[in-house]
């Protein structure tokens, strides 16, 4: 990305410089200090040559160094400021520097980021402001000249900041894209080989232990390859995955997952509900000492929403002794509320525990 900006700026320099030279020659009878004017334009041309060589050469990163940007800035700022005594004082309506500052703003944005680029814009703007001050303002036009110069300060500073910001965003997008492409390639490879093999072993084995190990390996690999933000899959698949994860962690708990065929939800709801179920199951195993639990996802006839219950055979607890918003109740309630639903916990000492989460109209939720 930086390379393309440098190459673009290199060609842009020749164009804007050519234009500036043409304007100066066209106004040569009104140029106050031809030696200064053509000297500065010549210096910029030399720099354009150096920068061009750098940008297209193997060591193009050199052009991104702070020193390189500073050198160009000094040159261009001098050109802009000299405008006051060379052309502007003669009221030609033309500027000596023309569009030359654009190139340095571009390079600064790509090389140094938005803050430095804004600084470069500010320096150029101040140089532009100094031009009419150095020249001495012609009578009757001071106001207009000053206003034009001041607006140049603001505009160039903003252009610098925006260029820098845009370059940063572009670079991030480019990095993300490169990483995603690499991951996709690896994922495609592994999907065709390892994941297929794991799926075959998992489905064909009759050894529960082998199936468990394979399932866990497959899940880890999928999580690594496709990340956490992948499509959670169907509601039954997501709930089963949550149940398996808890079963693996707490060996004594056996979870059965039932989903009625008409219970459906969008990916956002599925993810949150699966997380809530995972928390409820973890609690059943950890605090309730449950041996078995049943997860049921069903249509809630009363609200036409989604009703998910997690019932365990653990020791239960006295809800009056657990402070509100604590542990199970807090986290599950929070997730239910996020989805615009409600959660309730029905339990008593020695009588297991049932967590019920009711989400209204899941089809309308993301």
């Amino acid at each position: 990305m930086e390379r393309s900006v440098l190459v673009g700026a290199a060609w842009l320099r020749w164009v804007v410089l050519g234009f500036a030279v043409a304007v100066t020659i066209g106004n040569r009878d009104r140029v106050a200090h031809p030696a200064l004017a053509f000297g500065l334009l010549g210096a910029v041309a030399v720099w354009a040559g150096i920068a061009h060589g750098l940008a297209l050469g193997a060591r193009w990163r050199q052009a991104l160094r702070f020193e390189a940007v500073a050198a160009e800035l000094v040159l261009v700022a001098a050109l802009v400021a000299a405008d006051g005594i060379v052309l502007q004082s003669r009221a030609t309506g033309q500027h000596l520097s023309g569009a030359v500052p654009i190139a340095v703003l571009l390079v600064a944005g790509a090389a140094l980021g938005p803050w430095w680029a804004a600084g470069v814009g500010l320096v150029l703007g101040l140089a532009r402001l100094s031009a009419p001050l150095i020249a001495g303002l012609p009578d009757g036009r001071q106001g207009r000249e000053l206003l034009a110069a001041l607006s140049a300060v603001v505009v160039w500073t903003l252009v610098g900041a925006v260029t820098g910001g845009t370059c940063r965003l572009l670079r991030q997008a480019q990095d993300d894209l490169a990483e995603a492409r690499a991951r996709e390639r690896v994922a495609a490879d592994l999907h065709d080989t390892v994941l297929q093999a794991l799926a075959v072993v998992e489905r064909r084995t009759t050894d529960a232990e082998v199936a468990k190990v394979t399932r866990s390996a497959e899940r880890d690999l999928r999580l690594y390859l496709f990340g956490d933000d992948r499509d959670p899959g169907t509601l039954p698949a997501a709930l089963r995955a949550a149940a398996v994860a808890v079963e693996e962690r707490w060996g004594d708990l056996q979870v059965s997952v039932s989903v009625t065929p008409d219970a459906e939800a969008g990916p956002h709801t599925i993810r949150a509900v699966a997380a809530a179920v995972g928390e409820a199951l973890t609690n059943a195993a950890k605090h309730g000492g449950a041996r078995s639990a049943v997860v049921l996802a069903d249509l809630d006839d009363a609200t036409d929403g989604l009703l998910v219950t997690v019932r365990d055979d653990g020791c239960g607890f006295d809800p009056a002794l657990v402070p509100a918003g604590h542990g199970l109740t807090g986290s599950v309630h929070g997730r239910a509320r996020e989805l615009g639903g409600v959660a309730e916990v029905v339990t008593a000492v020695g009588d297991g525990c049932e967590v019920r989460v009711c989400i209204p109209h899941p089809a309308n939720l993301r």
Partner: protein, 214 residues
């Protein structure tokens, strides 16, 4: 002198020999395995020959699968032979079809050995193996039927409550305690629910035939 033991004859049908061996090892007296079958055709032949009391039957098998076994048994040995589906959890649609076609009940392959034995003994006594998963499937099925029939639910309010409680993982005893009815009444409700499933499927078939001019 030999003691007269009331044995229950069983045929095991599954295309995986290891599964068959595992089930055979889990059973034992008074459950007696009289034959094993590796596909649907073999299973039907074995049932014809032995007329077992129970068939433990996988859904996914060559030669037509468990569904073919269930339909054949329902047509020819309806009162005599009970087919219990023995499946992994992924086969939901087929499972419902098997139950509607006359399968007696359903057990998952991860059911622990002693539990498997207990449930099969109860099945021989006439109590269908009925898990929360099955109850959830039936809830959905009956809701579907009710929607089609413009609001008329084939289940009574009580039956629906029973189904919901079982789907949540309550035992018949817990369901009874919650609904203030006896365990035996809960069992009766469950049996009625299964009958209604068969009936509703039959009614659907007849309607389909009428619609298509058969």
């Amino acid at each position: 002198m030999t003691e007269i033991v009331h044995t229950t004859t069983v045929v095991i049908a599954d295309d995986h020999p290891t599964v068959r061996a595992g089930v055979r090892a889990d059973l034992g007296d008074p459950l007696r395995v009289v034959a094993e079958a590796g596909d649907a055709a073999e299973a039907i032949a074995a049932i014809e020959q032995h007329r077992p009391k129970l068939v433990v039957c996988d859904l996914r098998m060559p030669e037509g699968g468990g569904l073919r076994v269930v339909k054949e048994v329902a047509a020819r040995f309806a009162e005599e032979v009970k087919v219990v589906m023995f499946t992994v959890s992924e086969d939901e649609a087929d499972l419902l079809e098997a139950l509607a076609s006359g399968a007696f009940g359903y057990l998952t392959k991860d059911t622990p050995g002693p539990e498997l034995r207990r449930r099969l003994l109860l099945a021989a006594e006439g109590e269908p193996p009925f898990s929360p998963k099955l109850a959830a499937l039936l809830l959905g099925e009956f809701r579907r039927v009710a929607r089609k029939e413009t609001g008329r639910n084939p289940l009574s309010e009580r039956e629906r409550e029973v189904l919901q409680q079982v789907a949540r993982g309550c035992t018949y005893k817990q369901v009874g305690a919650q609904l203030f009815i006896s365990e035996k009444t809960v069992e009766n409700h469950v049996r009625n629910i299964l009958n209604k499933l068969h009936l509703s499927r039959r009614a659907e078939l007849i309607r389909w035939a009428a619609d298509h001019g058969i």
